[in-house]
Symmetry: C2
């Protein structure tokens, strides 16, 4: 990070001289799907850019060729051609763990810098690959791997470099946000909202990774390492699916001046060794907060620091063009910094003593019961035995006695204590459905 004052003379060359004296950075684009095509489009549109596209790799490349790519670009389906080429920067947009991981390693070892949009790869092997980039004196830029067009990694690593971040929270999955905002706006159930999202292209045919929270979790891992400087693995972070959320929950949430969103959150605690709390769960969020108003399939990240307070970033978290903007912006970072100390992305991340999802927060619990006298008293008695205080009890009219929903909000307690209480309550005889328990986001 220290300056090398002896070479400052180089900066005194006027910019236009520098631009003409230097050569353009050669870009190899590895993957020509939706994101790859958008990257090629952005690179082709600006003749004054410091980049020139030289290679495009794709499997069965012949069927991918398009006529708007400049003639000098080499199309190939042999990755070895790209790795052995004189390309300066390897742009990986094939996705998936392998062979992308092997290719990124080989590209770094071949002296290329790498830009990747691969959240799975960076969530799984980010620290290792960033170390490799250091060792080879090249750069690995990962801004496009989280939250698409939102410059979240850059903002938290550089824009908030002067702060000490202790919490990252957000809406990191556009599919879940689309489904939940649709349920909120129309009163639709989960299944029909999912079906609509699939028809409109906002959800995949197999929505497991989105609905269960795995997609958001991979992004949370990357943001935790980049922003909180804490190493964590995906499998250490508990997830809860959004599918048990029902229309009735939005009604009750509204009574509490809240709505429901899939929230990813990681918080570090250094009071007694380094500990990380992290989870991806459907969560009640106050209508007074920005996070309640993220529209459709957009994303939002809140970075909370000790000094600057919470900073919010929002925008389109996926899609060809937004992700391509993040990739091209990372190319500019490399162009600017190719002669400077590499950004220390993730290098300083520490291993925590523990990782758990055991936040101490208020909770919302929704019961659906076959009504009879004494239910509330029995539930309350169990909570009391566990030392959990009830904050509010709501039962809206208009439901049948055979399947009657009511909700309780509970004062802050640990999720694990509440789980044990709910296990005991779950053995009582009046349940029509398993109780749904959601944390309530507090600022």
């Amino acid at each position: 990070m220290a300056p090398r004052p002896e070479s400052k003379v180089a900066e005194q060359i006027a910019p236009e001289q520098r631009a003409s004296a230097g050569r353009k950075l050669k870009i190899a684009l590895v993957g020509f799907g939706t994101v790859g095509r958008s990257v090629a489009k952005l690179l082709s549109q600006n003749p004054h850019s410091p980049f020139v596209l030289t290679h495009i790799y794709n499997r069965n490349v012949a069927r991918k060729k398009v006529d708007w790519i400049p003639a000098q670009v080499r199309w190939t389906d042999k990755i070895e051609d790209v790795l052995a080429s004189d390309a300066d920067i390897f742009v990986e947009v094939v996705g998936g763990l392998e062979p992308a991981g092997e290719w990124v390693s080989k590209a770094l070892r071949a002296g290329k810098s790498v830009v990747t949009a691969n959240k799975l790869l960076i969530a799984e092997r980010g620290p290792e690959l960033l170390r490799l980039a250091r060792q080879t004196g090249r750069q690995l830029q990962i801004g496009a791997s989280v939250a698409g067009g939102i410059p979240a990694i850059l903002a938290i690593q550089e824009g908030l470099a002067g702060d000490r971040l202790y919490r990252i929270a957000g809406i990191l999955n556009g599919t879940c946000n689309y489904i939940l905002t649709k349920m909120e706006a129309t009163g639709a159930g989960f299944d029909s909202a999912l079906k609509e999202a699939q028809e409109l292209g906002f959800a995949e045919a197999d929505p497991t990774s989105d609905v269960e929270g795995y997609d958001a979790r991979a992004k949370l891992v990357i943001l935790t390492q980049a922003g909180l400087r804490v190493n964590v693995r995906s499998e250490q972070i508990p997830c809860a699916p959004i599918s048990p959320v029902e229309a009735v929950d939005f009604g009750y949430a509204r009574e509490l001046n809240c709505t429901i969103r899939q929230i990813s959150i990681a918080q570090k605690n250094t009071a007694n060794g380094l500990r990380l709390l992290a989870a991806v769960r459907p969560t009640l969020v106050p209508l007074a907060s920005l996070i309640a108003h993220v529209q459709r399939n957009q994303n939002l990240v809140i970075a909370s620091g000790e000094f600057a307070g919470p900073i919010v970033l929002s925008g389109f978290g996926a899609g060809g063009d937004p992700t391509a903007v993040a990739i091209v912006s990372d190319l500019y970072v490399i162009a600017r910094q190719s002669n400077a100390a590499p950004a220390d992305t993730g290098e300083l991340a520490e291993d925590p003593q523990s990782v758990s999802g055991d936040f101490v927060v208020p909770h919302y619990v929704r019961f659906i019961v076959r009504d009879r006298p004494g239910i509330v008293a029995e539930v309350a008695a169990v909570f009391a035995r566990f030392g959990i205080s009830i904050d509010a009890l709501l039962q809206k009219p208009g439901y049948p006695h055979s399947a009657l929903p009511f909700i309780m909000t509970l004062e802050a307690c640990s999720s694990s204590l509440l789980d044990r209480a709910l296990e005991e309550i779950g053995r009582l005889d009046f349940h029509v459905e398993r109780p749904l328990c959601l944390p309530i986001l507090t600022q």
Copy 2:
């Protein structure tokens, strides 16, 4: 921007060697008010930082001394001592046009890089000072001059470098946002909301610069230059004060699913030469947008690009600690880039052919009249003559005939055309107050 591949070997030095081989960057802190003290605190807290505070300048410095500053720091009230010192970076937090501007120039000419939080100075002389920094081979970082702890400049210049921005809009003045959110929440009038803001320290004794829009305008000038790459001077941008907004307007805005905020907006149009539209005005904003939910004295910036879509940034736009985070983050930018090509902040900004506030947007017009038959017909006749279409007419019950408020919303038309129509309408005999005309923000 082009790389200098011949010197890439330097990057292969392991980071720990580089850190120990290099020396810390010497920081001169010029100004020891609220922001200056926060900067000193942040710099003193991290022994591993690449910075060392060496000088503190303030007028009558003796009364400013505090015991938590390391003993080796030199306190002075002679700016010449700082300019002639071996400090690497000159941190200007005195504010105001002069002598700050002279000092920043002298610091750059003396071979120092400069970090400034001075929005007045950068709005007035940013392009000139950035050119000077280029000429002297030093850096001028201005991230703290807009929106305090929100890394807006960095995000739009680097995080969205791959996009082409055409619009910047936002809430850039925390005082106005505090006053307007208070009016919205409590039904208070402007005067009492201002008084409360003053009592709580959210507004100054003389609130002119905030209420009239001048403070927000200076920030809009800087964001326009940095993000849209268009040169503009403060006096070219029309402002309207928030003081004519009344409680009744929030009631009508709510009927339209909107609220009212002071919005700063700049939009470039390249269809027919480079033209800039820009204004700072109280504006109706849809409740469905994030910008309607910015709390208290926070700020929000929306950067709209052709590819990534709108990106939103929000957080505390002022205050000692948030501004200090922005300053220290800019110090890190200098540390990282001291050996690379300087960021091209603002250099590429072009002069537009025209600047005006003449947006073509829907409008809200509120009348307060001495009621009599025929008023609506007379107003409608004037609008019809100017070719302006009425979208909606609302008149809530419960007001006296002697001062009856009603509102119209108008389909998109140019502000200048509407001004002419309203001038004619203003000559009619039934007005109790001058009609209030607010643009409606559309996405």
